[in-house]
């Protein structure tokens, strides 16, 4: 072997591989390296997060309305019951004052 023989080809930089699995499991393939792509992904994630937050507001409002309606009707029934009980007590007192004849 002649040590003075310089290699005739210059080493080429390795081509980026996307399909080949990484040798080390700690490292995944590098994708979306471009800044533009990263910005776009961040923007879309932001829109999605905004929509989810807005949706949750609507969900809380809708469920709140439902439960408020049922609670309101429940209170209405409870007050009517109280009124009927008071009326029944009045009737009982009236009957005690004037018991039925023989």
């Amino acid at each position: 072997m002649n040590e003075l023989n310089a290699p005739t080809t210059t080493p080429q930089p390795a081509a980026p591989t996307t399909a080949q699995p990484a040798q080390d499991p700690a490292y995944g393939p590098a994708v979306g390296l471009s800044l533009k792509e990263k910005e776009q992904v961040r923007q879309l994630e932001g829109i999605a997060a905004e929509k989810t937050a807005r949706d949750y507001q609507h969900i809380v409002l809708a469920y709140g309305v439902l439960w408020a309606l049922f609670a309101g009707y429940g209170i209405f029934l409870w007050r009517r019951s109280a009124r009927l009980r008071a009326d029944m007590n009045d009737l009982r007192r009236t009957l005690d004052r004037h018991p039925p004849g023989p």
């Binding site: 009517r80 009124r83 009927l84 008071a86 009326d87």
Partner: protein
Amino acid sequence: MRVLRQALLLLRSELRQELRDFELLLTASFFTVVLLAMFYLSFASLQSKAHLAAIPGLMWLTIAFVGVLTLTRVFDREREADTLRALLAAPVERLAIYFAKAAMTLAVLMLCCMVLVPGLWLMFPAGAAFAEQPLATALLALLGCGGYVAIGALFAAGLATGAGKNTLLFIILYPLTTPVLMYALVTTRALLDHHPDLPSYLGQMAALDLILVSIAALLFETVLVGSGARSTSPKGQVPRTLSREPSA
């Protein structure tokens, strides 16, 4: 046949009463003209394409408003003179009373349509289709007003027998007559657009009118005088109805 004969007799009496002073006809027609004027002021500045979409709504809203006015007046006469009670006590089929009142109201509304339809055509040129298809227009007016009157006569009579508040007629009638008015809206739009399905829509309106008249006729006597069934309250007492609950 007996019902029809009695209904015609009652209708003749109504018409005779109306022909004495034309009160109902004149007030209803004038109200129609006033509404037309208000609609013209509100919508004349719109494009003619918008007129085409608006004309059905204008027509049937007018019928709805004039209809309540007419029904209220037809039965107010009876209430003022207390003749409805006399009519119910007389040996007259209740159904005949219903048909006579409904026919009277329908006649007044049809006469108002004779003012309304030409008025809409004159004010909004998009209504030219009314003049091009007079028979279809007449049938549409008859079926639409018929369905409205079928429901209205029942409830106006019911409110007239008690110490009825007339404002309640508005509350009852408008929600119930919405299906009839919607059908009339769609059919009117089909007429204005020269739609090929117009005969089908008119047929559906006729079927709807038949259903409404049948139900109203079935309920009329029961609503006015109650059914003949035994009450279910204890000790045979006539039960107080559940319209009021005891106050505290």
